[in-house]
């Protein structure tokens, strides 16, 4: 099952992946183990994207399959121990911008790779973003934008993190079509990228640095 399921993910075969997961559940395979296989497949999708073998469309397709498979697994997972997480992230599109395509792709990719993502949606005021960082105790704030008015909200969120004494322990990463390194400097973020897999790698590297 493991190899077939991975092949279904990597071959962009949604229905096959869903059928395999359902069959595995029916034969009492540990749902955590099934989830683990799906995550491994998603990691390979990410790796192939980074080498240029896969394109964004393959990330989008496999992320959608992962989302659907996760929904099938969820009832079985609830009764088991929680899957291990790689870290947690608060993720949103800041106030002034309602675009969510890029955010949604990265959120699903992050979840597929074991991150606990608190998706706060679009057009989110800076105060709400920082409240969510406080409430969840996460140390990564990810912000996505497609238009420049979002820069003001990003900058304010960073400033609020400082006011609340959270800036030093929060990694702020920005992305989306309009962001550049100049925007990163202006808003005071730690990292900027347009590449979903690089975003995940940067978050992982941050977590590795801070947990050493």
């Amino acid at each position: 099952m493991e190899e077939e399921l991975k092949r279904a993910f990597l071959g962009m075969k949604r229905q096959e992946a869903i059928d395999l997961v359902k069959a595995a559940l029916e034969s009492n395979t540990d749902p955590l183990m099934i989830l683990g296989v799906c995550r491994e497949a998603m990691e390979e999708v990410g790796e192939r994207f980074e080498t240029g073998e896969f394109f964004l469309s393959e990330l989008i397709h496999s992320a959608e399959v992962f989302k659907q498979v996760s929904a099938i697994l969820e009832p079985a997972l609830i009764s088991r121990r929680a899957p291990e997480t790689s870290g947690s992230v608060v993720f949103g599109t800041p106030k002034g911008d309602i675009h969510d395509l890029g955010k949604n792709i990265v959120v699903t990719m992050m979840r597929a790779q074991g991150f606990l993502v608190h998706d706060v949606g679009v057009d989110v005021p800076p105060e709400k973003l920082v409240e969510e960082v406080q409430r969840t105790g996460t140390n990564i704030l990810a912000l996505s934008a497609l238009i420049t008015p979002a820069f003001v909200s990003m900058k304010k969120a960073v400033s609020l993190l400082k006011e609340k004494g959270l800036r030093e322990k929060t990694f702020v990463i920005i992305g989306g079509g309009v962001t550049t390194d100049l925007a990163r400097k202006e808003v005071g973020a730690d990292a900027q990228t347009l590449d979903p897999t690089k975003a995940i790698r940067l978050c992982r590297q941050y977590l590795e640095r801070t947990t050493l």
């Binding site: 962009m12 397709h61 420049t148 820069f151 100049l182």
Partner: protein, 379 residues
């Protein structure tokens, strides 16, 4: 100041023909920036067409004038419609959005996967005639068509006003590429799933759509009288898809667009949002000096020059981030580099990378225009 020996239109046409004009033409794509610049809200400019028009004119003058104006007002063709583009819902400042927010597209599924067969059997226009009312929750097709027509008439009135001032709006018509139209109707995610799971259905629907989109654009150009078609391309690029998808679902239709438009004497303007680097070599198959490759800053414009130089005019690509966050010195340095490298030998138009951001600094936009007028360059 460079001694000008050409009119604005002669300069523009020389650049399109990959010839060397008297100086590099410059034309920022300004919409939302104009009301902000004139101290009025986006809502005011959207509600009252004359207010929007005045904001655009005053901004054009305040900036010292430039070679072509993309469009005279905010509203057209950003309002979605069935004529030439996916009938997306545009959220408008002061209505669905805050008074001074930026208009944005509310992307959602406008038709289902099952509808590809219907489109394949009746074509794009006939499909929307039937489907629009269902999709929009009862809003009759005639109503959107009437709104579109009213806005087009307003646009034509404004074109005439501008022509009287030797200012030349760019848009003759605005048309989505096939992938753009379908992706906006299905959403990026669902369209991508469709490409992998029902490619034959998409292909059949596109075959039945392409000529309708071309004809719709030709009909609009007949009325505007501007022989230039602004082709919106974003979703078919190598940023999203491998080239075999581009070769099957975008390129053959784009070639059909180009053939049809050129045969009517209409210049195709390819508005390439996102990174089209791996797709650029295909453009060399198109006739020399007849089209414009307009880049938004995500495609490497300097590599584009290496590929297309001497064959196709390139326009671009002063980025939104640079205009809103940079200094005039930063803008000047980048524009000079563009003129020296991409402008070399001609065939270059200095534009904003997609749209000038609403919060651009006035002095930065002015600097971009001034550099084109003053910097003799090494080209």
């Amino acid at each position: 100041m460079i001694q000008e020996t050409m009119s604005r239109m002669e300069r523009f046409e020389a650049a399109v023909a990959v010839e060397r004009p008297d100086r590099v033409p410059v034309m920022p794509l300004i919409t939302a920036f104009a009301p902000r610049c004139q101290g009025i809200t986006q809502g005011q400019a959207w509600r009252d067409v004359d207010t929007g028009l005045k904001a655009m004119m005053d901004t054009f003058e305040d900036l010292g004038g430039y070679d072509r104006l993309y469009k005279p007002n905010l509203f057209w063709p950003m309002i979605g419609g069935v004529f030439c583009a996916a009938p997306v819902r545009v959220l408008i400042p002061g209505r669905q959005l805050g008074e001074d927010e930026l208009n944005q597209i509310d992307e959602r599924e406008l038709f289902a996967r099952e509808d590809y067969d219907k489109i394949a059997s009746v074509g794009w226009n006939a499909f929307w005639k039937e489907h629009y009312q269902v999709m929009s929750g009862g809003r009759p097709m005639e109503k959107i068509a009437s709104t579109q027509n009213r806005l087009l008439e307003e646009y034509i009135r404004e074109i005439e006003i501008y022509h009287g001032m030797d200012i030349h709006p760019l848009f003759g018509a605005y048309v989505d590429s096939t992938i753009m139209a379908f992706s906006m109707c299905r959403t990026l995610t669902q369209f991508t799933m469709d490409l992998y799971e029902v490619p034959g259905k998409i292909k059949a629907a596109m075959d039945a759509t392409c000529d309708d989109l071309i004809q719709n654009a030709l009909d609009v150009i007949k009325r505007t009288g501007i022989p230039l078609v602004f082709i919106v391309l974003e979703r078919g690029s190598g940023f999203y898809y491998r080239t075999d998808i581009f070769e099957e679902f975008e390129w053959p239709y784009l070639q059909r667009y180009v053939d049809a438009f050129l045969s009517e004497g209409i210049t195709p303007w390819f508005h390439f949002d996102t990174d089209w680097g791996i797709n650029l070599p295909y453009l060399k198959e198109l006739p020399k000096g007849k089209c414009v490759c307009d880049l938004d800053g995500m495609t490497d414009i300097f590599k584009a020059k290496e590929i297309l130089g001497g064959h196709m005019c390139i326009s671009g690509d002063v980025s939104a981030a640079l205009l809103s966050l940079g200094t005039p010195e930063d803008v000047e340095e980048y524009c000079r580099r563009l003129i020296d490298k991409v402008g070399r030998g001609g065939g270059f138009i200095l534009t904003t990378g997609c749209e000038c951001p609403v919060d651009a600094k006035f002095e930065n936009v002015k600097k971009m225009i001034d550099v084109a007028k003053e910097y003799p360059g090494n080209w």
